[in-house]
Amino acid sequence: MKPLRVAVRGIGAWAPGCAAWPALRDALRDPGFAAAVDGPRRPSPALLPPAERRRVPDGVAVALEVGREAIAMAGPLATGSLASVFASAHGDLAIVDYLCATLAGDPTLLSPTRFHHSVHNAASGYWGIATPSMGPSTALAAGDASFALGLLDAVTMVVAESRPVLLVVFDTPAVGLLARVAPNTALFGAALLLAPAGTADDAPVLTLSIAPRPSTIPSTANAAFHALCGSSPAARALALLERLAQADDTTVDYPMDDTSTIALHVGPAAPPDATAAAVIE
């Protein structure tokens, strides 16, 4: 395949001890960074009316907030038709735990609000309503490779349809019995606003290709973040975010399955490339 190139026009992030991308960027440059133990438990999603901010589940809150940060960084942008991809391995585990526990007790007590929060596209739906955006929006999962497959979906949409796409990836901490089968321990979210390469002069360029070779979980220099990459599929985004924080020519590999790899190259802004434009004819 011909490598796919996109510009990274905006970044948003929320991780333990880092409430926004500038804080996380500084932390990623500091091998000794450790999150303060008394930091906020979850972000307050500024896109929602104040009364709603505490009512939405953790996954929705973190997804909306990192998405908002990424599009704010890109500057003025028509959000009315902005496309989006929301990737998460498990969605909101606290809601899934509630659902299963309630069904095991008295199923007739199931809360209609919690039920509509349980759909995997809850964050996608809230995003459309809050921004507001009527653009295409997808919610997907791919196990441990959820970030990599979410990125592939967003990149193919940018290239095939010549339009900006917001990628949001998030995980929530495992609760109850589910903690036995999902290792997630932290709330984490990251967002990348991707656009056709050549449309933003000063944005770093991401080049994606698929290589027929295995690879291992990508690493970060900071040990705490590296541990997070191992326990939260969404937090594997940290390895790419670390390369974006360095702003040099650099590469990072993401395992797609046991036999193949999504290989990424991060480089400084490049001149416009006509061949990267619309492929669908």
Binding site: A101, D106, P112, A139, G150
Partner: protein, 417 residues
């Protein structure tokens, strides 16, 4: 709004299949149409699974309890995987995929499956076991079973494909949106073929959840009928093989359109604005006008709101000669599998030259709602069909409309109309 999308390169559908409450494989859906048969039955699922009865009707796939997965997959045994496995065995689908893998190479074949609840039934059972005994069942320690991507990974491993593999979960539009993603993976050269599909088996969560929202009918659902009062849930699975090119007689994916309502989490936009955007985008990619569409398989859930909004959109956009119907009265609402099941119904309509009508209740005569224009049809009609749409409008306001053509000649004719 952005400029309308450019026409897309049509993609061949080289194999397709579906398994639902009316039976296994494509022939069962065609037979149910010809026999005017609904697969809906009184709900006997929730009482057996949870001990709590729920007065509604369901579309249950017969014989799933007796399906046995091959020995090497026993650790992943659950209702959703039995349904996936059963559906894959029909219509020569596995052989068609293996032939595509031989042609293109395993790494050039992607697998994208839509589901709303995946293997949640197994997780629900583990929680019940824990509530009753204080211990989780030993099988609960297999993380491969208890996550949203479980069924998609199972399907990929069964088929032996090694291209990109992802689960789409946008509720009731999940297995429609996989066609759009397949088109993008092929257009960008990432793969040459994609297995798209959807699998959603019955589970207590959606049954009691939709009941809590007041959206479940106590009777067999009655799409577009004046007496309709809610959905009947069903289970189903289906798959299609989408390739860059195929035989001249293969049906084609000619367009797709996706949008968000940006209105409400569980209620459609009152003017169907998101639905209209998705329809217009699908037609623009197909390069055909509204008058070229011969048949629409509607979302038609039989909730009062969905059907009123959808009927008004169809009446506003399409000529009275269009034939449009919902499949929900036949199969029930198969949630994450609805997109693929109804895409298969649409492909059968194109193949047979029969625009299917609708079942409203198991044996009742229809009483069309006042919102229905002449496009909404309750009776079958033998009629050559060239271009057809399949519509999916989901919870969370996620819309996806697919455009199919009977073959390349039908597309050429439609584009010149």
């Amino acid at each position: 709004m952005p400029a309308a999308p450019l026409a897309m390169h049509p993609l061949a559908i080289t194999a397709f299949t579906a398994t639902t409450a009316v039976g296994r494989g494509v022939a069962s859906l065609a037979a149910a149409r010809d026999e005017r048969r609904s697969g809906l039955v009184p709900n006997d699922y929730t009482e057996a699974a949870t001990g709590v009865a729920l007065s509604t009707w369901i579309g249950r796939v017969a014989g799933l309890e007796d399906v046995r997965l091959p020995d090497e997959w026993q650790a992943l045994d659950c209702r959703n995987h039995r349904l996936a496995w059963l559906a894959l065995q029909q219509d020569g689908f596995v052989d068609a995929v293996r032939a595509a893998i031989a042609r293109h190479g395993a790494s050039r074949v992607a697998v994208l499956v839509g589901t709303s609840t995946s293997t949640i039934e197994a997780s629900e059972a583990a929680y019940r076991h824990f509530a009753q005994t204080g211990q989780a069942p030993s099988a609960f320690d297999d993380p491969a079973l208890h996550h949203l991507h479980a069924t998609t990974a199972f399907v990929r491993d069964l088929l032996g494909a090694h291209g990109p593999c992802a689960t789409v979960s946008t509720a009731c539009s999940s297995s429609a949106k996989v066609f759009a993603q397949a088109a993008r993976l092929i257009a960008t050269g990432v793969v040459d073929a994609t297995v798209v599909g959807g699998v959603d088996s019955l589970a207590a969560g959606p049954l009691f959840g939709f009941h809590a929202l007041g959206l479940v009918s106590s009777q067999p659902c009655r799409p577009f009928d004046a007496r309709r009062d809610g959905i009947s849930l069903g289970e189903g699975a289906g798959f299609a093989l989408v390739e860059r090119s195929g035989a001249a007689t293969d049906p084609l994916l000619v367009g797709y359109g996706e949008s968000s309502d940006a209105h409400h989490m569980s209620s459609p936009h009152p003017d169907g604005l998101g639905a209209r955007l998705a329809i217009e985008a699908a037609l623009a990619r197909a390069g055909v006008g509204h008058a070229a569409v011969d048949y629409i398989n509607l979302h038609g859930t039989a909730t009062p709101k969905n059907d009123a909004v959808e009927a008004a959109v169809v009446a506003a956009l399409f000529p009275p000669t269009l034939r449009a119907s919902s499949t929900k009265g036949t199969t029930g609402h198969t949630l994450g599998a609805a997109g693929i099941v109804e895409a298969v119904v649409t492909l059968i309509a194109l193949r047979d030259g029969i625009a299917p009508g609708m079942r409203v209740g198991v044996s009742t005569d229809p009483l069309p709602d006042d919102a229905c224009g002449p496009q909404i049809r309750f009776d079958d009609a033998a009629h050559p069909l060239g271009i057809a749409l399949s519509q999916a409008f989901a919870f969370g306001g996620s819309n996806c409309v697919l455009a199919f053509s009977r073959d390349i000649d039908a597309l050429r004719a439609a584009r010149s109309r």
